[in-house]
Each structure stands twice: as C-alpha cells, then as structure tokens.
C-alpha cells in the first residue's frame, strides 16, 4: 500500500515528516502570502520596496475599493462569468454524452474518434493562435463572447471526454445491461443511470474546467479587444499604469480574481461522494 503510514514508534521520522510537510506548505503558499500582504499595503510601501515586511499602513478597504473605482473590474467579472459558466456547463454535458457513447457503444471508428479527443490535448495551443484568430475574424465572432465560449468548449471537451469516458467505463457493465433489458433507451440510460452515477466525476471536472477557463489569459488577449467582452484576467492588465504600476491595487484585484475558483471548489465539494456505486453489485 502506498503511501505507507509512518509507524508510531518512529518519533524522529514522524517529526521529520511533519517538518517537511510544513516546509513544503510554506514554500507553496509564500507567493500567495506576499500577494495578500501587498494587497494590504499602501502605495508608499510598494515604492519603498517593502514587499515582505510588515505594512507601514494597513489599507484593506481603500485598496479593494480602488480596484472597482480605477477600472471596470465589475464589468470584467461579469464578462468572465458570462464566458465561464455556459462554457463549463456545455463541456460537462458534451463530455458526458461523448464519454457515455465511447465507453459503452463500440462502433467502427470509435477508437479513432477517441484518439482525436485525446490527441487534441497534446497540441500546444499557442501554435493555433493565428489560425484561430483568423477563423474568428472570418466568421465575425472575433471580440464577442462567442469566440471565447466556442474556443473553450471545443478545447476543454477533449480532455473532459477522456476523463468521463474512463469514469463511465469503470461503472459496472451489468447496470447498463440491466437497464437495456428493462427497455431503457440509450437516452433514458444516460439520464436516469449515468448522470446520477457520474456526479462525483462531474463535480471534479466542473472545478477543473471552471478554473482552466476562468484563469485563461492567453486566449482572452488573443480573441478579445474591447472592454465589453474582456474577461477579468485580461482586464487586470488595465490596472497597470503606463509608467508605474500600483502593485498594491493589482494585488488586491488578483486576490479578487482568484476567489471564484475557490468558491467553486467549496460549492462542488459536497458532491465528492465516495462509493456512490456501493450496493450496485455484489457488496
């Protein structure tokens, strides 16, 4: 079994383990801590180079309020939600359907289609920058919500299909045979059997996909231009001044941008139910 628990009678090993865990955690959280602290600082501190020390003046409210006063942060937030929520839902729906078919209905060419879904993930997205931008311009979708929604749905569905296919393939096949023997159509099986049983997978996938799309900066810059469509990640750069950047304000905005994925995690957490198929077969 891995990982093996450290035996109780090895106090030194246990102490070393605890120490290392704390060390790794500290290293991991250090940048985040710095950003949080900076978001509390005054601009004078930033100018003086006081990034790590105690803030000379704590101005939480001022900084966070400035984020919304100095830029259209609220609009960007809304834009991000308009892009991310429908994209995530579409990816979940599509990948459940493709995953179900690919895992349960062997048909000629299924392997090829599956390979395409998986293979698409290995393409570096940057090499598609020019073609995709040209495509969006040609179809008139450039600088609209649709450009980002369509792009993200198309590119996240590949990975999500791999994820869902494997999860559905691991469900006991007797359940599907039983449903079929009882006269359930493939659609009915998908809605009444598959969907409830893949809830934990969908929750995990929802967090991943939501975070990917929410955090995307590259395509936001490539496919949008106007403030009316720009998501928060791209909008953040508007906060940077021409000559000097108010890093305390930028930090506050960054913290705000990071909140939705974290919220998403806590929202989905209750769906991580282990052993959902318990009682289905044997036991």
């Amino acid at each position: 079994m891995y990982p093996r628990a450290i035996p109780e009678n090895r106090p030194l090993s246990r102490f070393a383990y605890g120490l290392l865990v704390a060390l790794v955690l500290a290293l991991w959280l250090l940048p985040l801590f710095a950003v949080i602290m900076t978001s509390f600082r005054s601009f004078d501190d930033v100018m003086a180079g006081n990034y790590w020390g105690w803030p000379s003046k704590i101005q939480v409210f001022e900084n966070y309020a400035a984020v919304f006063q100095q830029s259209k942060m609220l609009d960007y937030f809304l834009n991000s939600l308009i892009i991310t929520i429908p994209s995530t839902i579409a990816v979940l729906v599509l990948s459940t359907m493709t995953g179900f078919v690919l895992s349960r209905y062997p048909f000629p060419g299924a392997m090829v289609i599956f390979a395409l879904f998986v293979g698409g993930n290995f393409l570096p997205q940057q090499i598609m920058m020019i073609p995709i931008r040209d495509l969006m311009v040609a179809t008139g979708l450039y600088d609209t919500f649709w450009a980002l929604i369509l792009f993200h749905v198309a590119f996240q569905t590949g990975f999500a299909t791999l994820f869902m296919r494997n999860f559905i393939a691991a469900l006991p096949s007797e359940l599907f045979q039983a449903a079929r023997a009882e006269g359930a159509s493939p659609w009915q099986t998908l809605i009444h059997i598959v969907a409830p049983l893949v809830r934990p997978a969908l929750a995990a996938l929802a967090i991943l996909v939501f975070t990917f799309i929410w955090n995307d900066y590259f395509w936001a810059v490539v496919l949008t231009q106007s403030d009316a469509v720009k998501p928060v990640t791209a909008g953040l750069s508007n906060l940077r001044g021409e000559w000097v950047s108010q890093w305390n304000i930028v930090s506050a905005a960054t913290i705000l941008v990071a909140v939705p994925p974290v919220l998403m995690f806590f929202l989905m957490q209750k769906h991580f139910i282990s052993g959902l198929t318990m009682g289905a077969v044997k036991g």
Partner: protein, 379 residues
Amino acid sequence: MNSVELIGLDKHYGQYHALKSLDLTIEKGEFIVMVGPSGCGKSTLLKTIAGLETVDTGKITIGGKDVTRAEPGDRGIAMVFQSYALYPHMTVAENMGFGLRMARRPKAEIDVAVRRAADILRITEQLDKLPKQLSGGQRQRVAIGRAITRSPDVFLFDEPLSNLDAALRTQMRVELSTLHAELGSTMIYVTHDQVEAMTMASRIVVLNKGAIEQVGSPLALYANPVNRFVAGFLGAPRMNFIEGTTTEVGTDDALVQLAGLAPLRIALRQGATVKTGDPVTVGIRPEAFAVGGSKPASCPARVRLVENLGRETVVYADASPLVTSGSDTGTRNVTIQLGSAVAVAPNSEITIGFDPADAYLFGSDGATLTPAKPEIQSR
C-alpha cells in the same frame, strides 16, 4: 404453446465458436436450468435470449414472435444478474419500478406492480431503502422483484445465487421454486451449481463447448446420461471412470476387462456400436460402491482419505492396479460414497466392490453403451 424456441443459433467471438448450431424448444411454464463447465456458452446463450448479445445465424422466438433482432426491452423478458445490478442511487421501490417508468406507465399502475412484487418477496418494509442498506439476500430479492414488476413472459436468471452464502442459497432456492409455482411463468436459469440444477429444474440442459449435450428431467439425466460428459458432470462426488477393453462382444452384452478385476459382463443397449478389443470406459457412481466383499465385482484397496459428513461418508481409496481417470480430486483413487457415518480408518486395507448391473459403459467417443436404467432405484 411453446414459450421460447431457439433454432440453429450460431455465434462466434472472432475465431472462437461460442454457440454451435443450437436448437431448443421450451414449453410455457417450464423451469429450464442450463448447466455446464465455465466457458461452455451457457451465459452467452442466456444473453442471446435476452437480446444483450446478437447471434450470427439462427432464429429466436418468444411467445411465437420472432425476436431474433428485437431489442431486449421488446422481447417480453426480464433478467436477474449474478451481481444483482441494482441502481445504487435509487430506492428499492424505484429500482423495482424502473422498467415500467421507462415505458411511461401511469404512476398508479407502477405502484400497484411494485407493491405486488414486494408482497410476494416479503420486502415491503425495504421499499424506501437504498440498495447499500440491504444484505446480499435482500438485494437479490429486489433484483428478482424488479423482474417480477414487469410481468415478463420469460424470466432469465444468470447465476443469481452464486454470491450468496450457503444457507441463504438454500433458502433462496426454495423461494425461487415456490415463486415459479406461484407465477407459472417460463424461467430459464443458468448455474454451475448442480444442486441448483437438480433441485429446481423441470428440465436440465447440459451444455459443453457451445453445444447441447443432453436435455431432460434431472433424474433422467442422472440415471441415463447419453455420454461420459453428462455422466461426469452431474453427481457429486463425481462418477468413477475406469478405462478398460472389451474382450468379447455379444448381441446384448459384452465382457469388459479392467485392470485388477475379473472380466465383467455388462449389458449393451440395442444398436450399441462396439467391437471386441475396443477401448471403453466403465463408469460407476460413488454410491454404487460398497465396502466389503458383498458385491459381485470386488478388489482390495487401501484407504487414502475419509471425509465424514455425518449422514454420509466419502472414502477415497487406492485400488491400483484399478485406477480411475479424470476424477475431481486429480488423483487416480476410487471414490466411494457410503450412506451413513462409517468407521473407516485411513491407511487401512479394505475390500471394495460393485454390481456390474450398476455400471455404465462408454465407448471411445464417449457415447453411453449400456441400456436405460430406471430413474428411481428400487432398493
């Protein structure tokens, strides 16, 4: 009226010939048990009847309707799986009503059907529970209940009791027989457990390598197996097979020479094709052996192992040069089943014997050469 008819069913999995031109007619209300060693095609056959597997050629009719290409849901069948296959996120009642719900039947009708099935199986108290809250036996009851709710023409059971412990298996066996009597539906039951086959079947179908070896009532198959395979498959402990040669073949009997015994005179059935000097196999059921010199054909043997089961004793004895082939134990010992607890000491010398009239004779192709024996012994 014929309930299920299988005509020339043939199926391949790639190169593997899973079903070989199978024919079987099942009457309405029969309890058919299909047995055979693993890989014999019994589960495949059941799934083709269910429609979960397709056939290459052949025809399947259920209730007179050709269903060879029909979807499982349109065949009038209901299937119970070895692993129960309950939907884990649905309550017992939802599980049982699933088929009717998918067929968009009115809610009142579903409720009535679920209640009725739950009453029959005595699981009314469990209706609101989830499968994971039930014991194995209760889960299998729910799976059977799910089949009953759809009131199918034919019930298909795929080793439904294999996952239950021995005591529960006995109980469910009795319940299934009772249920069959109560519903009067056709039931097709696949198992590798010959006790289930012997106790529940109105007819047993013995399958081997994708083909039917023999079909008949349990006692008919036990008393009159058509070949060595069926003889060896039914009966526990297994029949003793002893290789020998014919030294003289008459019109209605033959002299058979076995190592370590005087030549035996064994009756032949009409039209048995055997010549003098042919290799043959003599089959003697363990219960046909007796300890002591009371039987016509006897020889000395050394006791190797004694299994005292209380109401019966199974003795494994080394009677070489008289040796058996293809035994359950993998040894060449003779298996003797005695009808009560008998004091037989391991390693002791005993005399074992049998009556040649109880013996079966199989030709080199495995076919039975001896005439039919009475199904109920009058002794």
